[in-house]
Point group: C2
């Protein structure tokens, strides 16, 4: 229950951080950037130890690549911090100002959400990015990174937290969890934590969603589709599918299921197979597809599978409506694409597919905060409540209503003695 | 499991309703208004039966008042529908348009949330208002009203649903539940329902929140505070407190706890007691308050009690910071007010109190969508995720990202062959 007590302290200082001046939060960001650069040797040393341990433990190559925190990554995160400093203060923005009646002024202003818990993979650069986004947006943050990065994260957190305090932000405005067992304690603290952002495997995110009363922002599955329409330009379809499947196979925005209009399957499939064969992508085809190319047979389970691997399921459909219905039924409302030259069909697909991202003629891999120009992102949301799609600063904000009066009472309006006149200012 | 099947059908038509033209949704609203007027006799007849049953069952006066659906209430809801028709279409609004690179255009557009479940008290006018808000915002809605209004609700739903279909909106876009047992079935349907809005007692809302994976928007408690500062104008304090406590005692925005700066307690309390005595309000005071006026003793339980009754707990504090800390600790983040003439103290209070509404010198009873000029409201949210405060049309919206390309692939940007240039259009 130590965690619970500590979280309560974080919650207690959240209003103070929320009320801090943008200038002070920028000063904190600058101190973070400076300290990271000044103490880079200590960071790299801690990272070397993590890398050695991971290598001993037989951690796979792609994970080692993420775990590595070198000069290039340091340069990138410091540049990201500089970008955030240049951005206008997201807090205290007046979103609405209305005179309800004479001398009774309503304002809606942006404010931070409060305390955000982020559970993320073994990527030390993610710790810096998430911390910086939370500092800029005035949110307290509780960080739990992947255990492979334990030493690097501990060093980074120490540097960031010290820098933040030196700039005058309140004590306890940041907190780090290190043990995996502490995640369950965190999940119980719905009184202290306003929002959880879990990143990681499907099963892990689902576990989080199923075991907490704290609102969760993020996504479990990423079953993305590409539909190749009868009016598709196949010269676009082949590279788009190839990129969406192979550019980074374990990402959530990778395509898993390909739907093809029956009329173009014969023309597309041999060309597509030739391209995918270069990366040894296994095609699991419906019966009709198996009649065109040599492939593995697809089963019903393939409709709902997120492979995160060099596997693509392919089936034919009669028309765009069948593609839309399939995607809305089996998809995970993440990112889905139509390849077509027909603007009307594209609009129909993009209006009716109920996903955070609906694309025409480009790779699903574009679904990413950086590629959307949001700067850093804390995650991608497939929910429709609060933020949707890639989530940057904006998704970390809430608002509050301020009402300035001069002694007004509701009884006067209920009796008809006074009337509201609602004048936007 | 019949409910589950029906809800799945509702979910299936949600994208069609989401893509419907604003003109068609306005036509549906007009048809609803016309049909309600044309069939008013049948509605009043059903309502008479409900009222009779309620009277026989010994239902209390205030509930009977809400249950009654007469010409006045019909006129009000039809006027509300006319207001909604005049409002601009909230859907398909472009919130962001950005060229990521040549020929790669990102747009964020507003869209409905999808399927909204609303569970509300025995107020037939609420059924009409909620339905109208959902039609305007392109959301499918599942309605469960208080059982006392069974016959009225059934008639109203029949009229509204028929009108909506006659205007061309898709079948199954609205659904009504009648049995209380069906609520539990609804709570299980997180695959089909995107958002739940429960209204009713604290215990009821908490039950809903604790028994579903569907996101819930609303509030359980409404423990609102008024803090009377040392720089308060007592001529404002007394009527504001009187109104906030007595104008409608069972509302969520009624004040429950009064905090008084020690320096003004002596001057305020006798005047306040004189006013509250007129409505027989029971004052539960701290020891210091009991030394000034005759009152009941307050216990710790009073700090966390929502009385919804003619009871007010009163305690003294040393300064505004103690008031802020008390409110953030014991309040429900609904609406809290400071009475002061000191602008600096007011700003501090309004910045540091972590509530959906922070007021200066006016009654907490103003926390209401109608009084904020939002038109109808579906509820008041004390959460900070998604909507906060009184929720009208805006809280029923989400967004989606559309990306229009010409065959672009991520590999070109990852390799550096192409660069994003992020130009807002």
């Amino acid at each position: 229950m130590v965690i619970q007590e500590e979280l309560r302290r974080v919650k207690m200082v959240a209003p103070t951080l929320a009320a801090s001046a943008g200038e002070m939060r920028n000063r904190a960001l600058r101190a973070v950037g400076d300290s990271l650069l000044a103490q880079q040797d200590a960071i790299f040393e801690a990272n070397r130890e993590d890398m050695e341990q991971a290598a001993v433990g037989g951690v796979a190559g792609p994970i080692l690549k993420r775990l590595k925190f070198d000069e290039g990554k340091l340069r990138d995160v410091v540049a990201g911090i500089e970008d955030l400093i240049r951005m206008p203060d997201p807090l205290f923005q007046t979103q609405l100002k209305r005179e309800l009646d004479e001398g009774l002024i309503l304002e809606r202003v942006s404010c931070p959400i409060g305390v955000i818990g982020v559970i993320f993979e073994a990527r030390p650069d993610a710790l810096v990015q998430i911390s910086a986004l939370c500092i800029k947006s005035g949110n307290c943050v509780v960080l739990k990174g992947g255990s492979e990065a334990l030493r690097t994260n501990r060093k980074l957190f120490e540097i960031i937290y010290d820098a933040v305090l030196s700039a005058g932000l309140p004590e306890h405005c940041m907190m780090q969890l290190e043990a995996r067992s502490e995640i369950n304690e965190l999940l119980d603290c719905h009184e202290s934590v306003d929002l959880l952002i879990p990143r990681g495997s499907n099963a892990f995110v689902r576990y989080i969603m199923d075991h907490t009363k704290i609102p969760v922002m993020g996504h479990a599955d990423g079953i993305c589709h590409i539909y190749v329409d009868k009016d598709a330009d196949l010269d676009k379809a082949v590279p788009v599918i190839f990129d969406a499947k192979t550019q980074y196979v374990s990402a959530c925005n990778t395509v898993e299921t390909l739907l093809i209009h029956r009329d173009v399957a014969q023309a597309l499939m041999p060309r597509l197979k030739e391209a995918l064969d270069k990366r040894e992508v296994e095609i699991r085809g419906s019966r009709e597809i198996a009649g065109i190319i040599d492939c593995e047979p697809a089963t019903e389970a393939d409709d709902t599978s997120e492979y995160l691997d060099y596997i693509l399921s392919v089936k034919t459909v009669d028309d765009v409506q069948e593609a839309i219905d399939h995607i809305n039924r089996y998809g995970s409302h993440h990112t889905d694409c139509i390849v077509t030259e027909n603007a009307g069909t594209a609009e129909r697909f993009m209006a009716l597919v109920d996903s955070a991202g609906v694309y025409q003629n480009c790779s699903t891999r574009f679904a990413d905060g950086y590629r959307y120009g949001f700067g850093a992102e804390v995650g991608i949301s497939t929910g429709k409540i609060h933020a949707r799609g890639p989530v940057g600063l904006e998704g970390l904000l809430s608002c509050k209503y301020k009402l300035y009066g001069q002694g007004q009472v509701v009884a006067d309006y209920a009796s008809g003695a006074k009337q509201f006149h609602f004048k936007n200012l």
